[in-house]
Symmetry: D3
């Protein structure tokens, strides 16, 4: 059950409304990495969650994101209001001006309606936590970019507050993942097939015109890794399905790291 | 530049086509966590990437996912083919039967068209790698569920191969993240506001009918954390915007962990 | 600012989970007339609203709808849970089974992701209230249909509670509209063109095979109405743009009601 | 069956094509509250409708909206045509310029493709009429805003004609609703639960920074209403499901209006 | 300007309503290749068209497709009506049953809302005609599949009528294309680069497990064609941008057909 | 199976990045007629295809389009990069600037996410080839328009290369259609109804204000065609369903061409 208090979680002051920037702010209101996406992703994961400790975490943060949605919506509304009257302002977002009368709607900065396709909800707790860590990292960087494009100090303060909270959440989700998953490489119950999991398929090779190279990261060079060079070009013949029970054997030009 | 070799990366054998299962398989062909989503997310991040080592990683995996898309498409095609003729089969997915003639299309198991809204691409390398780790974890668990619903041994073998590779990729993205980001809590360049980042807002409280509790995870109890109890109910008055330069002070019923 | 209490607004009891019905319930969770649509439509209108009394109304109801979203989500989760294990159950919604692990997501009963395209938000208070009256009427009838398809008494009780509240909201929005709009036919500030507003264009004529007729409702027969018979067939010549300032004259086969 | 006459329902004159304004006009061509949405909503309700008088009404208006779609499309086409040649013009809508060659497409002013998600069709006549009343009110206000942003007198005349007709339709739908529904609070057949329908949940309380207050509208103060103060904070315990047959009792701090 | 006559263009008789088949029929009502898509594609191309003869063609067919939309909608409505009452029927399309009360909506057979993304409108007459030829061919084959899945003779008759008309339209669009485009390979005004247009890139090679081969169609073997074998593997070095004015030279393992 | 070579199929040089033009380029990256749409349409048709010669064709071109996607993405990335830093640049596409950090995403020039709704895949080879011919014609004209709006000679060269290849593909698909379909009017197996296929319904009549006329194309005047004048206005009575087996007779004001 929810209760709403009319005071915002962070009081916003806008000195000079800027419709162009109000339009950019919509990215965090109705955009793919915005506050509604965060609120819905965590709260619905919370409804599905059967671990009481993490369920509480998901509901705590999910609820806080609703309060963030209200802050960013109020802020965007202040910046977008001049669109109702000014044709110059209206050009930055005719949808807000003509269909919305200068009010906010659940769209991103290019007028795309918010969609639940943005959400990542799998019903598997440790997997969902990984999706949440990534979501918080994305939200953080988007707030940083908004701050960099912002001229109004009051708006900047609010964005700094919101950006800070994403780091708090990022840390919490990382702690929760550590708590529920002992081995970060183990997902679900079915183990990967032993030899195949240690093969690296070098599927992109050669050199490009702008310095692109066939590099040598740890994923290729760590001990135990078998590099399969350009598997497509070898027609991958040795990986054909083998009789059930027997082992898959890889015989081609691959090289196992030692 | 791409080249295509007609042999599949993993040869598929289907003993008994099962349109109901073919329909489920579409989740990994045109679904939110499927192979096209993976191929596009990594390849496009690769186009944007300016770190040559990680760019190679992104193109290696992005290309491998295209080969996976081909495997899962071929497999689904084999299972869905009877839909063209049988009305009973057609009921499982009238879109495939009527509009597709028993062939695959870029839809998920409920007929929703694939959309780039599924993708997470930010143009910030370490953030993108977190999104990729989460994406691989999701793909792994979806393959596991498909295996659990699958009766055909040839199909199961192919799914096991594909599932295994997701773990290979998960590991590689984790290694890459370690390589490019020294501090997993540091995203972008603007630091979070010191005191606010250490506050925990206990926004969801009380007890529920099915054992829901106000739990005490490490995010609340770790040293240095200040718990703000039910901030909405205190009307959050102390967090009002303060004059620029001064510090935000929190004076309410909060308790700092020691 | 929001606060969440773990107890549901209406405690739900499910005697016998029914995945088929759980799938139908999603219509009110992530569907076009469901609880998220209601919560978002009213809360965002509330952010835009500059009338303090109606702003309070919008936030009261918007918040209650969030609590309803939680009820319907919890209920659907209980009914959908068997999908994780049973292939028969999974057929009712492979998306929930395979991608969601038997948990809820923001989709409707056919797996379409929730979209803000469902919302009607114009930034004009009296217009928004009309959209809300219609939205509550739609939600009421959808709950009634769900009750009619429901076999489980605990589920029925919860749906009856939710359905009842829609009528409470419907009445409140009607009272608010009466309060802010003295003339229900007056929208905005620009008046309609006098004679044209009283014309009825009889654009659909003749008789159909199933009893369709060219009927005579009050919109045609009320005093003052001028019926223009089959305007397309008269080529509408008399309605051509006339010199600015002069009056549009209609001379054709029309008949003014007396 | 439809017939098309090449003369427009309202002859349009454009003195000075203005691509910026042509782009705004698309809101009424392919936008959420535009003419296609109106034409489709009413015509499809008409196909479903089993009341012959209202079926005729729905087909009359649905057909007129098709003629409006043609007017607004022709008008937008005239304003957008320069986009084909001028890069400056093209910036207002690169989609129209590059993909459409300066012609109209079924998109809104921000390039979002028209979707049937905009429609409200329930198959329940009185509910559909409420949705139509709201739709006409929205269309009216959008036309008013377009007129306010318009500099071209010929375009303004056409918009005034179209805006006027929405009021004609609004009135007709209101008359039809009165005709089919004796009690505006009665939707469907299942009655609401008596005491619960008269409760007001005061879910949003306190004061905000911009004059937001916990106001006292008729929905709270009318005789017979029971106000439940901040139900979430009282944990709503008294509304728990009660044994079938018994009455729900509310005992907390609520106050019934007299 | 449009006029509607209540008689259908083809009278429909349904002996035995079949909700399962009604659901399939939606593919031609609100589906990607359905009648609304056809009506909108041609009518909007007609609005954009500046060739008076083809404009008439586009409006003739666009209007006929509206009459087809009405037929298929009426037919689907008859088959779907039992969904309102029967839970067994409702399972075939819970969206129609729960949200639509057994009435039609603009969705396809899997409940996906119709979208203007289905349309192909470029503002270039000869290109649009090619899109229309393809659209008619798709509509024809979809009707054929519906007929093959249909048990009801009255329904079959109507589908046969509709299918027949698509062939009429296909022929007309082909005649129109012949009329406006003398050279079917010439699109627009900028000519293709001479030598490059005659190269064939053999980008997919080898043999597959199910008889896939590197075949030899006329596109490779016709006189004047230069086959570039596996260009990616040769790293396409010779196609690098050359100094403006000079000619691109291809020197690798290619072979020009004689 | 795919392999990726780091060298682009056409080396791109950008002298002066132009974010406004970079935004337009996205039309061919993530737009409706862009390279991903082409790559996916052909490759998935290829997976479904059972004719080995055409399957090879579809995979050859599908793979080449992937290489084109890479070229256009690299080109757009170069033009969009300044968006990360410059507010003026960012206004052309705030989504790319704020959410994408100046990198490309799978959106069109108006920020709409790519969707598989753009694709035309029917599982019927000759129908798919018609869709592909139309798709290539659309891609050609879009490239031509981009070239016309482009100031940078290096970018122009790349676009000319890509545009040229579309003509190569157009020709190949036409050759393939000729190969598989002897009669261009014959689609599928069920023949059209003889007399009805030769009727022309003159559904759009009269004269418009801008020279629109009821024209006389070959589709009306060719020998054997029966023109049915304004069928709706004659209420189409003669086309009513007739007893099975009997012939449909048309007796009205129609005129058969001789």
């Amino acid at each position: 059950m929810y209760h709403h208090i009319k005071k915002l979680m962070y009081t916003v002051h806008v000195n000079q409304p800027d419709p162009r920037f109000g339009n950019m702010l919509l990215e965090q209101f109705g955009g793919a990495n915005g506050e509604l996406a965060a609120a819905m992703q965590y709260s619905i994961q919370g409804i599905n969650c059967e671990d009481t400790v993490c369920k509480d975490l998901l509901m705590d943060i999910g609820t806080e994101e609703l309060s963030h949605l209200e802050i960013i919506g109020t802020l965007a509304r202040m910046h977008l209001k001049p669109m109702k009257k000014s044709a110059d302002a209206a050009e930055h977002d005719p949808l807000v001006a003509i269909a919305g009368g200068g009010g906010v709607t659940l769209c991103n900065s290019m007028g795309a309606a918010w969609t639940a396709d943005y959400l990542k909800i799998t019903g598997e707790l440790d997997v969902d936590l990984r999706s949440n860590i990534a979501a918080e990292a994305r939200a953080k960087i988007v707030y940083e970019r908004l701050i960099n494009f912002c001229d109004d100090s009051g708006t900047k303060d609010a964005l700094q507050f919101l950006m800070t909270r994403e780091i708090t959440h990022l840390r919490a989700f990382m702690q929760a993942l550590e708590m529920v998953s002992k081995n970060p490489l183990s997902i679900g119950l079915i183990p990967p097939t032993p030899r195949i999991v240690d093969q690296w398929y070098n599927d992109s090779t050669g050199e490009g015109d702008n310095g692109e190279i066939d590099a040598d990261g740890p994923w290729k060079s760590k001990k135990g890794i078998t590099v399969v060079e350009s598997p497509a070009l070898q027609e991958f013949q040795v990986l054909k399905a083998t009789p059930k029970g027997s082992e898959t054997t890889v015989v081609s030009t691959e090289k196992t790291q030692k």
